[in-house]
């Protein structure tokens, strides 16, 4: 594979962000390649949200560098990031619960016979595309006409990702996609993340759950109090070590000791 020679889709070097005198993030480096899953792990307040907003183009960065396919880049807006192929799937998913799956899939980018709001929708085509795109990702819906609210949380998450992929994303940033889900539903999403990876997408997977991150991740970036605790490949770290690092191993041991009776 020539993956090693091609520049990564997205790379940050020593990136940081401060709001006035508050340093929200400093000196974080990582990269996401084609067909790679980078997991960003951290507890609450670790700087995950700031990191995501920089990658998504919602915030500018105040130090360090960001490269898109090896070229230095500053996103001016989320739209700019999206047009560059970086799609972010937020926790609220941007779906309308009462609307059919296929209408949600194409919402805001509907296919119609001509321009303008009153042109006829190409309904059959949109339904067919939705069905096949979801099938590609292993979501087998009998009826794309059902309201998306009737799908499970994991399926809805998967539809939102599939939508980003279909509309040209090269890398997807997933903001805590499994945090509100039960074990089984989280499994649906993780399987889906793996499929997206297999299709050649770069995935940035933000989570606070090492048990969700470890099975799909290739690289693990640990954040704590706004800075990086280091980046590890899967071979370098075990799930136990990952969990320990995340929770702040020594602190956890001290806590366990303190609570012991």
């Amino acid at each position: 594979m020539s993956l090693t020679t091609a520049p990564p889709i997205l790379e940050v070097r020593g990136i940081g962000k401060s709001y006035g005198s508050i340093i929200a993030l400093s000196d974080v480096s990582t990269s996401v390649n084609v067909g790679e899953v980078v997991c960003v792990l951290g507890d609450n307040g670790a700087g995950k949200s700031t990191f995501i907003k920089i990658l998504a183009g919602a915030h500018d960065y105040s130090s360090g560098e960001l490269f898109l396919y090896g070229q230095p880049k500053r996103f001016t807006s989320p739209r700019d990031a999206l047009d560059s192929g970086i799609a972010t799937v937020y926790q609220d998913l941007a779906v309308v619960a009462l609307m059919p799956v296929w209408r949600n899939f194409f919402l805001g980018s509907e296919l119609s016979t001509a321009g303008g709001p009153f042109a006829r929708l190409r309904v059959k085509e949109m339904k067919a595309v939705t069905t096949s795109e979801l099938q590609k990702m292993g979501i087998d819906l009998r009826d794309v006409d059902q309201p998306i609210g009737t799908l499970s949380g994991g399926e809805r998450q998967s539809v939102a990702i599939a939508r980003a992929v279909y509309f040209g994303a090269k890398a997807v940033i997933l903001d805590e996609p499994t945090s509100a889900l039960g074990v089984k539903q989280a499994g649906v999403v993780l399987r889906y993340v793996a499929r997206a990876r297999d299709q050649g997408l770069g995935v940035v997977f933000i989570t606070h759950n090492p048990h969700h991150a470890y099975p799909v991740g290739d690289k693990f970036l640990l954040l704590k109090r706004g800075t990086s605790l280091g980046q590890f490949t899967k071979s370098e770290i075990s799930i136990a070590e990952l969990t320990g690092l995340m929770a702040g191993g020594a602190e956890l041991e001290a806590l366990a000791h303190e609570l012991e009776r």
Binding site: S109, S112, A119, R120, L121, G149, S152, E155
Partner: protein, 348 residues
């Protein structure tokens, strides 16, 4: 949190199964259709005049005026907003045309065009204020409703010294325009008012827009989850302003239809009817919270209202029963809606 795993284990987790009854109930207009058939059958069997040609023409006419408004109001409600000024607008537009033509001798077509422009401007104003300020449309249009009501009464008195404008039939060109707004067409022995055709056409166009155009998709989206709609690039402001202009435009049409039917317009025309439009829309399956409903349902809601309004007269009941019936229908419809949303709606 973890309740998502509580799904029955026998079910394939990737495939959401849907009960056939829920599939049927997912059509917003089903409840209204059943009710309309029931009411039609009841009055047809218990009164002699209901099914007669003259009787049917009467309740169809009545239903058509409410129906045109209910369809426009339903589209707005699907878009997540209310318009309480819609009723008074039917009076305002009629009064404007009446005053322009009978008092100042303006050309009737020009007067109608100006009245339409005024209506659309008020609609756009409602929409811009609601979206730009984030205030509930209920309050904003309540304000415009009272303004229109006051202007209608005070303005009419100021111009004519009376509370009505009369003598429209003497205006040059009245009969030519009347063909489109106030004539009758013989059909199946009925003297069918042309407004019924307008009603059917408006319902068909609204249904087409809602289900088969991008604009329709946006209406459901802005009403269902505005934030999501915005995130996916739906033009929220334009969509909502368009809908408010739609109800105002429908108000103009109904204003014209009643003006050309009787050649007279009362200063109080349309006042108190704004809630009837909303009730018709809700009976037809619109959710008060937006994002769900249908134009056909609203048209059926208006048909129910029109049939009951005239049916009670034919049955020689005290017509105050109408209000009680209307309230009962509304409650029933809201309960059905609640059930539908629980079944087909949001899981969380």
């Amino acid at each position: 949190m973890t309740t998502a795993t509580a799904a029955p284990p026998a079910k394939d987790e990737r495939v959401a199964t849907t009960h056939p009854l829920v599939l049927l109930l997912r059509r917003p207009e089903v409840g209204a259709l059943v009710a309309a058939l029931g009411i039609f059958a009841y009055f047809s069997l218990t009164t002699t005049s209901f099914l007669s040609a003259a009787g049917a023409a009467t309740w169809l006419y009545s239903a058509s005026l409410f129906g045109i408004m209910a369809v426009a109001v339903a589209m707005l409600m699907i878009g997540g907003e209310f318009d309480l000024s819609a009723g008074a607008m039917t009076g305002t537009t009629g009064l404007l045309v009446g005053a322009f033509t009978t008092q100042w001798g303006m050309n009737i077509v020009l007067a109608m065009a100006i009245a339409l422009a005024v209506a659309l401007a008020v609609g756009a104003f409602n929409g811009i204020v609601v979206i730009k300020t984030g205030l509930p449309s209920f309050i904003v249009t309540l304000g415009t409703f009272f303004i229109l009501q006051g202007v209608n009464l005070a303005g009419t008195k100021l111009v004519t010294g009376q509370v009505a404008i009369q003598g429209m039939s003497a205006v040059p060109g009245f009969d030519a325009v009347r063909v489109y707004f106030g004539s009758s067409i013989p059909l199946l022995g009925m003297n069918l008012k042309v407004s019924v055709l307008w009603w059917i056409a408006i319902t068909a166009v609204a249904t087409w827009i809602l289900l088969r155009t991008r604009f329709g998709n946006w209406i459901f989206a802005v009403g269902g989850q505005q934030q999501s709609a915005r995130q996916t690039g739906v033009p929220v402001l334009r969509t909502k302003i368009g809908l408010f202009m739609g109800t105002a435009g429908a108000g103009w049409l109904v204003g014209m239809l009643s003006l050309f039917d009787v050649a007279t317009v009362q200063a109080t025309t349309g006042i108190g009817q704004e809630f009837i439009y909303i009730i018709c829309a809700v009976v037809g399956g619109c959710l008060l919270s937006g994002g769900f409903g249908s134009a056909i349902g609203a048209a059926l809601g208006a048909l129910i209202y029109g049939m009951t309004l005239q049916g009670i007269v034919f049955a020689q009941w005290d017509n105050n029963w109408l209000k009680a019936f209307l309230g009962g229908m509304l409650l029933l419809a809201v309960l059905v809606n609640l059930y539908v949303r629980r079944q087909a709606g949001v899981r969380e």
